[in-house]
């Protein structure tokens, strides 16, 4: 087993991304709670816009986009590499955390604005379905077996789950839902938010994107180390078995020779 440590450059880049993520998240928090003005309709509740959509952006588009793309690259023979499998698995785990937070922050926003914590409307239900599929993917990864077979079934599962992403995105257009339409990524691509509120929202998107990148790098490293240790354990077990078998194999011809020599 060779434990390749992160190079100095990678360590510095990951650390810089982590610091930038922390600073931008703190800035979003400060601007979102204390600096930006309240909304005319939603009043102070609008402040949740600086966390809920950026978290949903990471969950739906970044995490799922990464997982689906990495899965396709793993399934395609020309580009197949264990790295894509590790990337997909890492993106799904981080994505599951962000998807759960999308549902929780949405629910906290929904209670005072809609009067209910949860409604079986198209946007909420399709997002909940996505979380269930992500958890299914993570369960599938824990099924023991050949690493290639595991990577294949997980890649297929990720691609099937990714089909739900456009359904979540367009759910507010295709069906009548409680959830409002897109604020930024709408049909006309003209944001319906302006001034300091728009800049703070943009900063929120940057902050959570950086957070996702840092988490993905950490999770990738964990996945790489786990697989290397799994391989090392297997090597060790095989060596032990060979060592157990070696004296028996070496003594077998000697016993045969002794039997022949006996009168």
């Amino acid at each position: 087993m060779t434990v390749a440590p992160w190079s100095r450059r990678t360590t510095l880049v990951v650390r810089a991304v982590g610091i930038a993520a922390l600073v931008s998240v703190v800035a979003t928090l400060w601007l979102g709670i204390w600096v930006t003005p309240p909304d005319q309709v939603q009043h102070d509740l609008v402040r949740l816009v600086y966390v809920h959509p950026p978290i949903a952006w990471v969950a739906l588009y970044l995490a799922f986009g990464t997982a689906a793309l990495a899965s396709i690259l793993w399934l395609w023979r020309r580009t197949r590499s264990p790295m894509w499998d590790r990337l997909a698995a890492s993106a799904v785990e981080v994505g599951a955390v962000f998807t759960a937070l999308t549902l929780v922050t949405g629910s906290i926003w929904g209670r005072p604005t809609w009067g209910v914590w949860w409604a079986w409307d198209a946007r909420l239900t399709s997002t909940a379905l996505l979380l269930v599929m992500l958890l299914g993917y993570l369960a599938l990864r824990r099924v023991p077996g050949d690493p290639d077979a595991r990577a294949r079934r997980c890649a297929v599962a990720a691609i099937i789950a990714a089909v739900d992403v456009p359904i979540v995105h367009f759910s507010v257009v295709w069906w009548r839902t409680l959830h409002q339409g897109a604020t930024v990524l709408n049909a006309n691509l003209s944001p319906t938010i302006h001034g300091s509120m728009a800049w703070t929202l943009l900063l929120g998107f940057v902050a959570f994107t950086l957070t996702f990148v840092w988490m993905l790098a950490q999770r990738m490293r964990i996945e790489t180390l786990s697989q290397q240790l799994e391989g090392a354990e297997l090597d060790e077990a095989l060596q032990e078995r060979w060592a157990e078998g070696a004296p028996a194999a070496a003594s077998a011809p000697a016993r045969a020779g002794a039997a022949e020599a006996a009168p």
Partner: protein
């Protein structure tokens, strides 16, 4: 204000805890991998 505080606290608190767990898992595995490497004949 309580809904806003709850939203921010849950979102940032969960991400913080998850980030710490990632760093702990990575450090534990790095230490384990280094030990395996050292003990290797």
């Amino acid at each position: 204000m309580s809904y806003i505080a709850a939203g921010y606290a849950i979102a940032l608190g969960t991400l913080g805890v998850y980030a710490l767990s990632l760093v702990r898992r990575r450090r534990r595995l790095e230490a384990l991998a280094a030990r395996v490497e050292r003990d290797r004949p």
